[in-house]
Symmetry: D2
Subunit: 349 residues, 4 copies
Amino acid sequence: MGKKLNVAVIGAGRIGKVHAETIAVRIPEAALAAVVDPCAEAAHALAQRCAIPCVAAGADEILRNPSIDAVLICSPTNTHADLVIEAARAGKHIFCEKPIDHRLEMIDRVLEAVDKAGVKLQVGYNRRFDPNFARARRAIVSGEIGTPHLLHIISRDPGPPPIAYVKESGGMFLDMTTHDFDMARFLIGDEVTQVYAAAGVRVDPEIGKVGDVDTAVIVLHFANGVVGTIDNCRKAPYGYDQRVEVLGSAGAIATENCYPNYAVISTAESVRRDLPLNFFMDRYMESFANELRAFVEAVAEDRPTPVTGADGRAPVVMALAARKSYEERRPVWLEEVRAREGTLATVGH
Amino acid sequence: MGKKLNVAVIGAGRIGKVHAETIAVRIPEAALAAVVDPCAEAAHALAQRCAIPCVAAGADEILRNPSIDAVLICSPTNTHADLVIEAARAGKHIFCEKPIDHRLEMIDRVLEAVDKAGVKLQVGYNRRFDPNFARARRAIVSGEIGTPHLLHIISRDPGPPPIAYVKESGGMFLDMTTHDFDMARFLIGDEVTQVYAAAGVRVDPEIGKVGDVDTAVIVLHFANGVVGTIDNCRKAPYGYDQRVEVLGSAGAIATENCYPNYAVISTAESVRRDLPLNFFMDRYMESFANELRAFVEAVAEDRPTPVTGADGRAPVVMALAARKSYEERRPVWLEEVRAREGTLATVGH
Amino acid sequence: MGKKLNVAVIGAGRIGKVHAETIAVRIPEAALAAVVDPCAEAAHALAQRCAIPCVAAGADEILRNPSIDAVLICSPTNTHADLVIEAARAGKHIFCEKPIDHRLEMIDRVLEAVDKAGVKLQVGYNRRFDPNFARARRAIVSGEIGTPHLLHIISRDPGPPPIAYVKESGGMFLDMTTHDFDMARFLIGDEVTQVYAAAGVRVDPEIGKVGDVDTAVIVLHFANGVVGTIDNCRKAPYGYDQRVEVLGSAGAIATENCYPNYAVISTAESVRRDLPLNFFMDRYMESFANELRAFVEAVAEDRPTPVTGADGRAPVVMALAARKSYEERRPVWLEEVRAREGTLATVGH
Amino acid sequence: MGKKLNVAVIGAGRIGKVHAETIAVRIPEAALAAVVDPCAEAAHALAQRCAIPCVAAGADEILRNPSIDAVLICSPTNTHADLVIEAARAGKHIFCEKPIDHRLEMIDRVLEAVDKAGVKLQVGYNRRFDPNFARARRAIVSGEIGTPHLLHIISRDPGPPPIAYVKESGGMFLDMTTHDFDMARFLIGDEVTQVYAAAGVRVDPEIGKVGDVDTAVIVLHFANGVVGTIDNCRKAPYGYDQRVEVLGSAGAIATENCYPNYAVISTAESVRRDLPLNFFMDRYMESFANELRAFVEAVAEDRPTPVTGADGRAPVVMALAARKSYEERRPVWLEEVRAREGTLATVGH
């Protein structure tokens, strides 16, 4: 093992803490060099917990520090784009929580800055690193289930977020379904060309009043002919429901939810088990650690990151197209959305 | 128990045999009075096996026989419409295998004849009587999972039929998906108003050459706002895949496939089980018996049959709309198909 | 197909009816020739239902009838031994419900009579023919799990029988566990040499008052070194619990219970399914049909039956040894029980 | 939160590292103060990884340090007893890996020293803290399954340890089954009075040559009438098999194995999943963290530890009785073993 990668954490909130702990205990190839947060107390608490030697006064202090190799951007979404651009200009490798931004133009400016700086960028679509979904992808790559034909993604939250959050979220397709759009591209390994969204307000009329939907089915037409469906709902009364199913020419793979225990209780009423893991931090704990490990390895070995800037852009295009499809009640080509935005960039991977 | 219902079997093929055996052994309220089949040998074999006292020379002999109360029409599809009309005119109650016909005009003439004669008609959409799907329906009716929001039907055959059959089948939507269209209406208890079909040829190019598809996803917009998806493929390498999943406001229900045994084998390679039941006669054995029992009861108690003529018509409308959606790559209102056919009948249930 | 096997049913009760219906509908190689029952009404009802041409006045009328090839003895247990002996003397092949008798001397007299007459005898240990347990046996025979090391049988009733029945039953080991003793020999394909029974009264003190137990674990030492355990209880609140698990040198097989449906309901309380099949007639419906089919084939092809007289005797020896072990709180050699009875016969298979 | 508990780690091997990382990241109420290991390199590596301020020259340095509140004894088994005694005399609270010792006299001396010093002692029977087994215990304590009647523990290793290890291990009952003996007492919450062990050499004849067994069934008679069985094998070809099942008067609970993923792959061959977690460090990762958390809480709140010295002693008594039962082929009272050892202590909890 050579020199450790020196990493700074920008944002000491919930996800920043998760990433810091992962670096501290599970990734010996990296070291925590600094942390920053507008809330000094949060930054200091995290520094103490994870033995981080420096609490910075601001992000610029971190970006100016030549001993820091990489930053983990864990601050609020509306700060992502600027921070990535500044970090890129400072020559830091960047792990940025999803989404980069909700606006395609801004994403394109970010990707341009990263490209120009020649630094690594990994976007935090952590679910790719979940052992279940990673297993599904392996089944496809290895040929275990043959050529994929049909994909079905179930992605349901335990309950809707507060209305205040919904208002600022960009809408369900941008806020929630982007994870599933990324999952679809990841699993099938191809681009979606057209989407059709059937959606409605079933859970909470207030969500409808602020112009959003809470329940949807989105059909994905892939370039290679695969047809996918995403099944979204803001409320699954039994908890966090996160599954995928792929049918291929030689077989199928289906993943199950994760549970706090695997006990079955049989009584005179039913044969039952406890509810699945309800909180995304529990459900995806493993994937958060795995994505950081992959980032550190990509930097150390100078390889492309597994979730690139283009991978961060594509789900936003899909979300915009889904919204348009829902509004116009017709299938929408992704090309239409790109054209409208005047950013007809080639999205490959 | 009063007088037994005297039943004649028209068609001594595979499904006729199943129904005759059910009447013989499992439904004491009915008796087999006669059987007829163009193949006299088949008719006699069935008569012997099930102790049927009379092998008729033709269907008309049966229809003229005043001691016969009801007929089971198990002959080829293209004979169904005429036989139902004649049986209705002869005052017989009718159990008719699905579909009544592929043409809406012909179905409407059939329904008119039945209506005029005042006899009972039950169409053989047997899957409603499968213990799994019946359980799903009960979960909805009882409120166990609250108000339904989303429905997902997986319906995949073990392998495609011969091309000769495909050519005559009316296409996958009419031949295979009608079962799923019926299942969707049955489970949700409401009408579909619009469908969107994404389909393709993934399994066998020969199927494409004769103008059909072998893989499809169909989105169903229900009048009550529920969104449904049907996932069809002519080939599931692991066998017959028949499942449904419904998400409601208070919970979800999902059914599993049926297996020849429930043994789990764990070796150094995997934790595995044998393949699911592969043949529809095995998978739906119980449902075939249940649907006949329901028919006999409906006649005996002078109640509406559980699968009426209108229920037999609706899936055909949906299949025609799905085909149109696939061809025109847009969502299609069922109204469009009805209008085209000039039979804007009210389909209720 | 040559001449059909003419079969008479002795005893038109619950199990007699099941077997008659199986012959009538599912075994074309056999025909029902006569039925007899002390209750003439039951006999006539069964005759009508299954188109049996003759209702005999007594068993002797059947045994004297030269056109009858085989009898199904479905009468009460205390009549089995005499009927088997008489049927053997009359040259009829015999299917006899389990047990032949509770007394080893009587069983030995029966086996002698059968042996002398050279007729086939099959004892009704139907569970061997259950698709799950048959699958477990196949896993062992085929080498799929290697050489067996450990066997675990779970066999629990939904609830205890009436005390009046318990008094006459011969005790739990003879009444209930004999099925499991047979299963153990069947699965492992070897003889048990020693048993150790730990038992008690946990379900109903009344059972203890009449000298019986209602809960037990029995350890089986097989000649080949396999160690087996049987886990019995007269009451499983969730229903009929019938499972086996075998560990071998190359893997393990475990069977699950059977359910009326395979639906999973997820609500805010739990992820649950309905209770397993609760009634032995439902759970073992398939095995009842399979065992009769095997009997008819064994007679038709002049091969040994799959459950011989010796197979009918062995579980009784094991039950007697288990009782002795429980009473004396020590492991008991089967040899001790055989010696006590003065019938040191070689029990092989 | 008051003052943090200062903890020292004695032994920087595999399990020492696990415990240190848990303290570092998951238990904010405790702090790592020192580490010691005969291998200085291992000690320093762990110190760096977990930011431990002091690498001690020997255990005595740690025991003399007044700022250290508690020690985690993670050194080899044959050092446990002396270290616990010395730590107790030094007034340190003690978490000691299992077993305390293989000799009852030595254990009694240890318990006496701990008792005299008035310090806390927790023995590392971690499986009690596994979410599955903890759930089973909750089902019993809460009355969810009523009064327990029968217990079945499956505990099988993926493969046998090296013969050199077997020779020193004290035999399978002491080395492997002690975990299960502890589990039995934990789940049922009562003492075992008599055991019966059926065992043999099935996996590797070399194990037999050094006087040990590799496959066993142990029947446990509890004071409260519950009957338990433990099913042990040194080799489960499919991996680490760790399950329990309890039948009670109102229901049953059964736990499943844990898997690296919950994906099901269906192909033309089988419906399968990947093998269960194969390594005890993976399988019990959560339980290792939970037991330490419980220890820190017990010390902080001055409550009894959840696995006391008496809990550490009882499984050793059971193991000695099981060995005696196997050798003498008869059920053995635990009293016999205690008497033989001349240490008729009251073991309660």
